[in-house]
Symmetry: C2
């Protein structure tokens, strides 16, 4: 099975490394950025191209791992000749691919990818759907080789999943960053927070977030809340974030 990979960003890189690791065959990698195409393709050991015209025709599957915004720029220019076209995005409806091929689907690995950081791909949930039974079978076969956790997820469910991922990953990481700044400004090491961060994440593997909720807001401890809001007096944005999240916690759990 010949795979063409479109994209060389964080997700494309992690995916390509995993595809190579499990012995699947990437024949070509496309990226608009020449250096990215060259770099990733040389690691994988395949052709790297940065011109759409050089993308080969007739591959068995085209895996689209470019940014969501690039879909409408890049995909209409590619001759897919009704090969199987699969995108990897959390937020794009599968049916958008019907404009480019009559065989299409989604292979969405739910994880945050950073170049240079290896993740255990076998544990990453892969959410799949397809235009037809044959395409579904192909995508499922590949996904089962890549990961032990493959799930059928509709476009509608995938949108909710992606929204949830923004909350538990992007928003959470932002809060880590704010804390890092508080610590740095008070001459303390961020690493002192690491056991707490780890335990907060681990706790909800066995108990629900509702049971796990602690802190001044759920206790409605106005002394501490007011003290913190006072402390944040000079940082309006943080004061607002502190306030809205504390109110939301109180509203949810009381």
């Amino acid at each position: 099975m010949n795979i063409v990979l479109l994209g060389a960003g964080n997700l494309a890189t992690s995916l390509a490394l995993r595809v190579k690791e499990v012995g699947l065959n990437i024949v070509q990698i496309y990226s608009r950025t020449v250096s990215s195409a060259v770099e990733l393709s040389s690691v994988i050991g395949c052709e790297g191209v940065s011109s759409i015209d050089d993308i080969i025709e007739g591959a068995d599957i085209y895996i689209v791992a470019i940014s969501d915004r690039a879909h409408v720029e890049v995909l209409p220019k590619i001759k897919f000749n009704n090969s199987l076209v699969v995108h990897t995005s959390g937020s794009i409806d599968m049916e958008t691919l019907s404009a480019y091929s009559n065989r299409y689907g989604v292979l969405y690995p739910l994880q945050t990818f950073t170049k240079g950081r290896l993740v255990d791909f076998s544990e990453i949930p892969i959410c799949i759907e397809a235009s037809d039974r044959d395409s579904f079978n192909s995508i499922e076969r590949i996904s089962n080789i890549l990961s032990n956790d493959v799930r059928r997820v509709s476009s509608k469910q995938r949108r909710e999943l992606h929204l949830s991922a923004v909350y538990v990953c992007n928003f959470v990481n932002y809060l880590y960053g704010v804390a890092e700044e508080f610590m740095s400004k008070s001459s303390q090491d961020f690493d002192i927070l690491r056991p707490l961060i780890q335990e907060t994440a681990s706790k909800i593997m066995s108990i629900s977030p509702k049971e796990a909720q602690t802190g001044p807001a759920v206790r409605f401890d106005t002394n501490i809340i007011d003290m913190h809001l006072n402390r944040l007096e000079g940082e309006k944005e943080q004061q607002e974030i502190y306030k809205i999240l504390s109110e939301a916690i109180y509203n949810r759990y009381n």
Copy 2:
């Protein structure tokens, strides 16, 4: 060394179990709630009392692990006779204890505690300070038996630490809870998010939150942001939280 423990909540329970585990000697546990005092003291194998008048005098150290709000109600009524009095709170200034004894300090274990959930106490950072050198040495000696990570932290630094802990624990857990609700409402299992939650927490053990930031807000991907804000149209509180956090991420990283 005879220890009297005041409190039988989440923190007091975890602390008492660790104190017993390392072979230190709790002689008495006080809790306003009779059942809590009985329950925890029977596990630890010491006297449990629920009346302030029954608290023994002349212990070597009194560890205050009651809620912040209970400090001013409970502590003035106890005869400490200038024994060492140590509180365990993230947000209360050490000097407040000077009203009750002339030997005092802080032993603040930075972790989120839930009854019935065991944590590896040896890895919990314990933040200590004291009124005088002798008291500091006593608190440090005990802390070093309880944990491998003992740090001198001033009251001012501890306040920043506690504020940071609210961000990386309480606020983060709240976001987990919102995601759980999105998932449940779209008939999906919350556990699909667990590898992402774990990786988001693990990532910042080796790279800074700044480098780790991904997602639509940092990319200023207005298509996705607008799509999510539209999706949240019927949930004003979440729409506001999504908006303020996305703007904050954009402001911070661009």
